[in-house]
Every structure is written in structure tokens, then in C-alpha cells.
Amino acid sequence: MYIQRVFGLFKKINAFYIKITSFIILSFIYFIGIGLTSLVGKLFKQDFLIINKSNNKSNWCKYYLSENMEKMY
């Protein structure tokens, strides 16, 4: 019973620690990795999602079949 309680406490601490760590790491990735790239892109007027497409007549894009099915891309 006592060991179970201690084990449960450690589990909670562990979960809290994981949350804090992932929050810090993800925030770092977001603001440094995504943020800097985004700012540089925007400086050069990069439209990442191609929202303002110049060709107004069609919105079709060519489909490229990824030949290698063993790859995740």
C-alpha cells in the first residue's frame, strides 16, 4: 500500500516533469525555429500556404505520385 502510494506520487511528478519539459522545448522550437523562419519568409513576402495565388483562372495543381511507397514522404 505504502509502496503503491509512493509509486503513484512518482508517476504524478514524472507526468508534471514531462509536461513542463515538453512545454519549454516546444515553446523554444516554436519561437526560435518556426518564428525566425516565418519572419524571414514574411520579409521576402513568402506565402507559405499559397493563399493569394496569382493565377486567378484555375486552382488546380498537378498531382505528383510519390513512387517509393516505403518512405513516409
Binding site: L26, Y30, S38, N59, W60, Y63
Partner: protein
Amino acid sequence: MKILGISCYYHDAAACLIINGKITSAAAEERFTRIKHDNNFPINAINYCLNDNGLAANELDYIVFYEKPIIKFERIIFQHLQHFPKSYLIFSKYMSQWLISRLRIRDTLKSKVHYHGKILFIDHHLAHAACTYYLSGYQSSSILTIDGVGEWATCTVGLGSNNKIEIKKQINFPNSLGLLYSTFTTYLGFSANDAEYKVMGLAAYGKPKQRYIKKLNKIINVKKDGSFSLDMKYFDYSWRERMFSEEFIKLFKHPPRRENEKILKFHEDLAASLQYLLEKVVINLLNKIYLNDKNLNICMSGGVALNAVLNGKILANTPFKKLFIPPDPGDAGGAMGAALYIAAKYDFIDKRFVGERFCAYLGPEFKWFQIVKVLDRYKKGKQINYYLYSSQNKLLDRVADLIKEENIIGWFQGKMEWGPRALGNRSILASATRQEMRDIINSRVKNRELFRPFAPVIIENKIYEYFQIDNKTKDYFSPSNRWMLTVYPFKKSVYKLIPAVVHIDGSGRLQSLCKKDNALYYSLLMKYYRKTGIPVIINTSFNVKGEPIICTPEEAMKCFIKTDIDYLVIDRYLVCKVK
């Protein structure tokens, strides 16, 4: 060759097994976990497929995943790049899931399934296309897939010919008809990726109004070649969870409806206008596809192909003569599509099991002793009594009488259906001859919104007598009708005969029934027809609001006990409650 297709991590997780060209088992994960639209790794569905066929995971030749995770991840990163820093909340909420599981499919398959063989990944929309084309049995056909979003694509057009699929072009995120419809679904107070069919049902209560259509035309720009784009100032879905923007609310000058708020005329008319616009855009696109391909067959898939009202208008408004939509055109169907694509490429697809002959009963079934064990437990608890009918004929006769006497029947037989609809193996059945039956089932059994209609199941050769589908040059006996994927208008002369299944606009989402599809269910309907002269009854899914369709005898009993279903027919046992 043994091929397992899987889909997960977005909408509906599922697994499908193909052995030597035949689909042997398939099921959605939600049926096992009881979480509606469960998108977690489908370990239960995979285990079912393997156990049902006596296979160990490493006996599989391939496991195929229904999309390319890294390409999808790339799109999500691009969303954040576009919307930095607004997208921080959604980044911190979902990114860890990507890093822990979604990008680590191989590891998950090793750790959870203990599989160490070949793993393949195919494009999301290619899986949709394969699901519809290979099941259709057509030699050649145009293919259209439309959904919310896959990797980048939201809509693709292709051609299937001689068992090969060629996708020609695509429309990319964020321009998406599926997400457009989902955005309105949330604005109208329903949940996205779940309740789009409620908006479709609600649309029948309203009328498309010019003032809303004008506003919708500001949101979507349809090009001459059938493609379309959305004005993204009205949408926030690419950077936060609420899908519509403040501009969207300003445009319609109405606050978004909350879940339990009263439905107003505005909501009904807006739903009708949206439905009208969707039909216009898709039918225009289909006409362009026909002009390009000159093929008389069309196969459709993707979540938008679940819009049965739209599907019912396709043959009448396009030159296509045959329409095929698979029983599950959504993401769960991607598991089947992925497996079918690999089967066609590396093995073969047995033509005896596709097209007209494809059978959608691919889920778990239970033996009589498993059923009796559950029934005995409830009988001991003095909650039920049950009777065994040694003759199937007598059982069907009794059940037909019970339906005629306006009882509500829980109907549990054989293998569970594949796809989101109950097709007569996990169904609630009732007479359609009384107007009030709809409200009774909605309020006392299903606990759902009163405006929602019920679907009629009809003997296949009676379709022309009951529905206004007079153009005999087109093939209205599509298998899609058997899977409740099309809505047609009823003939006015039958409104009074079966008022419980006639929707407010005079339409019905039919399930046509033929003997080779489900002999027992067909025999029951024939018995009822002989007794009443009416070849139609209500068929609705065996579940209550917010829950997936039942899978096991235990779930059938729980649903039976807690609702006002009068009798439960489970295998050859007729179960009634102790009062």
C-alpha cells in the same frame, strides 16, 4: 498475399484485411473502444482482423498506412509558418502528439502489433480513390475525391482504367469544400467531423435564400474549370480550433449558435443555402470532369461523398450513367483503399468480391453460446425473458407481426457492418406507416434532435414505385443505394403510406435491399410486405445519441435495457423486458 490497411490519427481509425484478393475483415476502432470517431491507433480493429482469420501479425506480407505522415507534417509546419505567432496554442497542444506517435508509425507497429515486416505508405487521396474505384468493379471510370484535407490535397480528380489509377490534378489546402462545410457545421452549433449530416438534415427545413447565397459567393470563388478557392479572411481553421473568423460572423450578422440553443429560421435557411451551394459546386465540377474524360461512370469518395442529398442529385444533373460510392467513403475507408491499392499493384483483386457482389458485412460476429451467456446473465437479474425460435421462418413471422403492431425492434444478426451506417445487422427497425413513429424513436430510444429524419429500407425492385427516379437511361440500382448513401424524393402518392420516413422536403435516404446482400433481413422485409402490402420499414442504427453503433451482444443488451426498444431479436432469440 495478406495485406492489412490501416487508418488513424485524424478522424476515424480503422483496419482492413485482404487475403488473396478478397476483403475478409474490416472494422472501425470506435466500435471496440466505444469512443465515437476514435482516431487512436486501431489496435483493437487490427487484432480483430488478425484473430478473425487466425493470423499472427508477422504472417502479413504488407501493412499499408493510408497517408504519407511526413508530407502531412510538412503542411502543418507550413500552417504555423504562415500564421506565426497566432498559432502558438494549437502548436503546443498538438505538436507533441506528432512527435510522440504520428510520425512514428513504424515504431508503433513494432511495439503494439509486434510486426516486423514491410510497411508501406500511400497518399491519402490515392487511398480514397482506390477504395471507390477497386470496389466499383468498373473497367474504367472517372474518379473524384473530396474531403477536409489529406496531406495537402483536399480534392482530386483522376481516372481508373484496367485496374490502374491515375490521379491527374488536385486542389490544395486551405481551399477545401469539406472544411467549408465543417466550418458552417460548427457555426450552426454542431460538432465538426461528426455532425455534418445534421446540417444536411436541417437544410431540408429551410430554403436557399438569395441573400445568403450572395454571401456564400463571397466566401467561395468557383473558377470556370470547376476548381474553387476560399477567401481565407472568413476562416481561422488553419491556425486555431474555432473554424470561422470574426469576419465570418460579421458577414452573416448573427452570433454562432451554441449547442443547445433553439434552431431558428436563420439556421435552417443558412443550412439550405450551404447545401445548395455545395451541390452547385460539386455538380459543376462533375460536369467538367465528364467533358474532359467522356466516361459514363463516376466513382466518388472522401468525406464529402457522405452527403447523401448531393449524391442523390448527381445522376439527374450530370451526363454520368453510373455512380459508385463505397460504403465508407470517409477516412476509415482509407484503410480499405490503402489495402486495395497494394493488392491491385502487387497481387490481384478477386473480381468475385467487388462491384455488385461486394458485401459490407465485414465486422465481428458472435456464436450462439456467447449470446446465450449474456442473455442468461440478464435473465438471472430478472431484467429480461427470452425465447429461442428453432425455426427461422417462425421467428421472422413473429418479428414481422411485431413491426406491424408498431413495436420498436432491436435487430442484432451476424457480422457487423463496415461503414458509418447500420445496414440490417445492427439496426433498430420499426413500422413506417405511422407519422408519430419518428418522434417516438427520436425521443424515447435515440435521444436525439427531433428534426432528424429516419431512413427507409425498401425492397430493391420496388424503388421505382416509391421514389421519383424516372430516368430509366441511368443506373439507379447502384450498390451505393444499398449503403444508405443517396437521398431521392418520394413519389407524392406514397407520402401517406409511409409518413415516418418521408422527410420534411418529401425525400428519403434509402437503403435498397436485395436477397444476395442480406438474405435474412430481406426475408423479414418480404414477410412484412406480404402482411401489409408495404415494402418499406424504418431502419436506424442500433445506438443512442453520441455513441457508436453497438458491436457485441452485451452492448445490444445495455442499449435495449436503457431505451424504450420493445423487443430485441438477437440471432434466433426473441428478448423482451420484464415489466
